[in-house]
């Protein structure tokens, strides 16, 4: 049995909605098949008011063993570092976060807000939001770079806006079933099993990417979304086209550009007008190249790909 506590800071509850849609395994499977005891969750917990407060205090004191502390949303520090804009059970949430993190065997940050600040931390960041151990790419965050939970791991970051439900439940199962030692984390403390390949890996538009045929409008079934519509699939680390959403599809498969939401900079370019759903270019050449590709190589590759493109690459091959 592993006790799990889930709290929300500066959050929209999107990751909770995602979690509740998990299928492999489902949120119910966590309880019935994998021995996870949900101590409290904002959408599932039955305790209210002082009873929740007592439960949190018991976790901190050690009266209740806290195995997994899950946090969703940013840690809010406003105004002026007090955290009073986000109070919970009579005190700033940031204080609960620190004490519960120190008490927990494992700490898991779910979603962009908890991992690196996400949308609330977009400049000028009026809520003074940070993630648990990062603010965008900068290490530190609310708990500091040196933080390690009792089990000796830093915060396990599962980013996304929202995180895919099965990324969440599969990592929780790994931790709860004593296999945390198998988790390998990348430089941003993301589990490598999910965040080493690219969003583009498995995209049904890869043929169009290879032959440099562009989609020019949302929802088109032919063409790659990278060239014109701002898709960040070639430089974003996620398994969105390997572990499909709702077991059916993904943004890019449906004709919607990847927004790069598993990367620390999300939302990119601070959401400046003209930067969303539009590939940013300098003299017609993309500012952000596919990972590992330089400008000269990209131009050469484009010339070769265009010259070699077969006729079918220019047609809609997904015939209804």
């Amino acid at each position: 049995m592993a006790n799990l506590l889930w709290l929300q800071g500066g959050a929209c509850s999107g990751n909770t909605m995602s979690f509740l849609n998990a299928e492999e395994p489902s949120a119910c499977d966590l309880v019935t098949d994998f021995g996870i005891n949900v101590l409290w969750h904002p959408s599932l917990g039955i305790e209210l008011g002082d009873n929740v407060k007592q439960l949190l205090q018991d976790c901190i004191s050690g009266k209740i063993a806290l195995d997994i502390f899950v946090f969703e949303g940013t840690v809010v520090n406003a105004p002026n570092g007090t955290g009073n804009w986000n109070r919970f059970c009579g005190r700033p949430m940031k204080d609960w976060v620190r004490e519960l993190s120190e008490a927990a065997q494992f700490v898991v940050a779910i979603g962009d807000c908890a991992t690196w600040g996400g949308i609330p931390a977009t400049a000028p960041n009026p809520s003074e939001s940070v993630g648990l151990q990062f603010l965008k790419r900068a290490p530190g965050g609310s708990l500091g770079t040196a933080f390690k939970s009792k089990a000796g791991l830093p915060v396990i970051n599962i980013p996304g806006c929202p995180a895919h439900p099965d990324w969440v439940t599969q990592i929780l199962v790994a931790v709860a079933s004593g296999r945390a030692g198998d988790l390998s984390l990348d430089e941003f403390q993301r589990p490598k099993t999910f965040f080493t390949s690219f969003t583009q890996t498995g995209c049904t538009r890869n043929m169009h990417f290879a032959y440099k045929v562009s989609a020019t409008a949302f929802g088109q079934r032919k063409g790659c979304l990278f060239y014109d519509l701002g898709c960040r699939g070639p430089m974003t680390h996620s398994p969105c086209n390997r572990i499909l959403w709702n077991r059916q599809s993904s943004k890019t498969r449906a004709g919607m550009p990847c927004l790069g939401c598993t990367e620390p900079e999300f939302p990119f370019f601070d959401l400046a007008p003209g930067t969303v759903f539009k590939t940013q270019t300098v003299m017609g050449v993309p500012k952000d190249m596919p990972a590992g590709v330089d400008k000269t190589g990209y131009i050469k590759l484009t010339a070769a790909a265009k010259a070699a493109a077969p006729a079918w690459a220019e047609k809609d091959i997904f015939v209804v």
């Binding site: 440099k212 060239y227 014109d228 003299m283 017609g284 993309p286 265009k306 077969p310 006729a311």
Partner: protein
């Protein structure tokens, strides 16, 4: 558009350029805002205003600049159809032409 119609339009554009039509090759849209403004100008044209598209698009009938940029490498260019697939242009073009809406 049938093959005959496509060829006819391609000939018309080629003649316009060969006859020295002055087109707006500059300024090159360096930002998305500038790019969008040109698209806005194109959208304001009558759909059959071929010369307007050629002028505002900044068409030339040869590669551009030291790097010899040309339609052939542009992401909007469909090689087999010899077609510019940018919705605001949507015209047949030769691979060695170029316009200021070029992107790679």
């Amino acid at each position: 558009m049938s093959t005959g119609e496509t060829n006819s339009v391609l000939d018309q554009i080629a003649k316009l350029l060969a006859n020295g039509l002055k087109t707006k090759t500059e300024p090159f849209p360096e930002t998305e805002k500038e790019f969008g403004e040109i698209l806005g100008e194109l959208r304001a044209l009558s759909p059959d205003d071929l010369q307007g598209k050629v002028v505002i698009g900044g068409f030339i009938n040869h590669p551009f600049g030291e790097e010899q940029y040309r339609c052939m490498e542009c992401m909007y260019y469909l090689v087999h159809r010899k077609w510019c697939d940018l919705p605001e242009l949507a015209v047949p073009v030769e691979p060695d032409w170029w316009c200021r809406l070029w992107r790679i």
